[in-house]
Symmetry: C2
Subunit: 235 residues, 2 copies
């Protein structure tokens, strides 16, 4: 029987590629989507569609991060970033779309499901190449979370693991890939990117805006991969 | 102006004492209660009552940990522990009331609020004396969370903190106190324990059962402190 893994799945390009990688590696997929009050609700529909496509067991859970504010993704009071190039995004530091401590909350929820399931493997589609502005996408952050997970859980108190090592693994196969490499990897694994949604601020008809940081990076990725994006954009 | 701190507040004896300690230390109190589908809903009412009593800014947020199962506190499918003595509780390892990764999720949510607020101080009422069975109540676990927090957040990417140290503090003033010492400390600070709720499995009228692990430890604490518990028990 395939070993269970919990995969954080947003319905976006990265986490959909992540599901394809985990499936290809033979894991029994448990896809976890967190509804944190993001303004781009289309993402949740895409997550459901993608999880079904991969035959994953899927849960969408609410965590009310939007009540804390602090991000342009969850609060109308914070100004959305202007249209900027991929280079400006890479150089621009932490953007206003950063959601405070989001990946920490997401990984904690994934850990809770993993512990309840008896799984020791979490997958998260973080990337340190194209979007280096997010603190919780760095390898040292992921290593610190693994360390925490090894101490946080039932098995962390048994004697053989007293050093807090070696129980949980946080898999980050996209960490060092460019967006173009992620797309090529996904296409090798027959990912259908028309199922995915990346835009932070889609139009009322659900079309991607083509101008937010997430659209700009996605479009750059398809250009790098030498392929058209199957999505239709608002502009 | 008082510096802001985020205090995890369940409405129980420990976290109510924690609020009193933080208030006494001069922090501006931001009390965070997580509704994780616990079967003891009275706890949430107590949390609201206690937060109001201390003049804290208070948020109660849902996090749907109960959908993962794995604990007698959130799932009717898992048998509740039988009535046992304080000594049996201390010796009994991880009880069925353990909720997978709960404190990791709670601290992550507290961190998210702290980051949005501009606070660097979290308070959690964990204790390594009376209830050593929970992995996520140990000092080494708390140290690992601090390390994670220092890497996870906006300020964690600025150069002066690149080692992941020194930004966030997780305050655990109850860590090494017995239940009796916690109660004496609270009474010094004029805590009204009649506001609190500790029972895991209250009766339909909301009376504490007097028999669950939480009631047993609470009653032992009042005995140690040489005082009667102001609550009326079902038995």
């Amino acid at each position: 029987m395939n070993k269970p893994a919990v995969i954080l799945a947003s319905g976006g390009l990265d986490s959909t590629t992540l599901l394809a990688i985990a499936k290809n590696e033979g894991w029994a997929l448990h896809a976890l989507t967190l509804d944190y009050g993001q303004s781009h609700r289309r993402e949740l529909e895409a997550a459901e569609r993608v999880a079904r496509h991969f035959g994953a067991q899927h849960l969408t859970l609410r965590v009310e991060l939007s009540r804390f504010g602090g991000s342009a993704l969850t609060s109308e009071a914070i100004e959305r970033p202007h249209h900027r190039s991929a280079e400006e995004i890479a150089a621009g530091g932490i953007p206003s779309t950063y959601v405070p401590a989001r990946n920490t909350v997401f990984l904690s929820m994934a850990l809770a499901w993993a512990e309840a399931l008896g799984s020791h493997d979490l997958f998260i589609g973080v990337n340190a190449v194209d979007y280096s502005g997010y603190p919780d996408c760095r390898p040292e952050y992921i290593a610190a979370f693994e360390q925490l997970a090894n101490l946080a859980t039932r098995e962390g108190v048994t004697s053989e693991h007293e050093q807090g090592r070696g129980i949980y693994t946080v898999h980050t196969p996209l960490m060092h890939l460019t967006k173009g490499e992620i797309i090529r990897k996904g296409l090798e694994l027959s990912v259908d990117y028309s199922l995915t949604h990346s835009c932070y601020f889609p139009t009322s008809e659900g079309l991607p805006c083509g101008e937010c940081d997430s659209c700009i990076l996605r479009l750059k990725g398809f250009r790098e991969a030498g392929l058209p994006d199957p999505l239709r954009y608002a502009k």
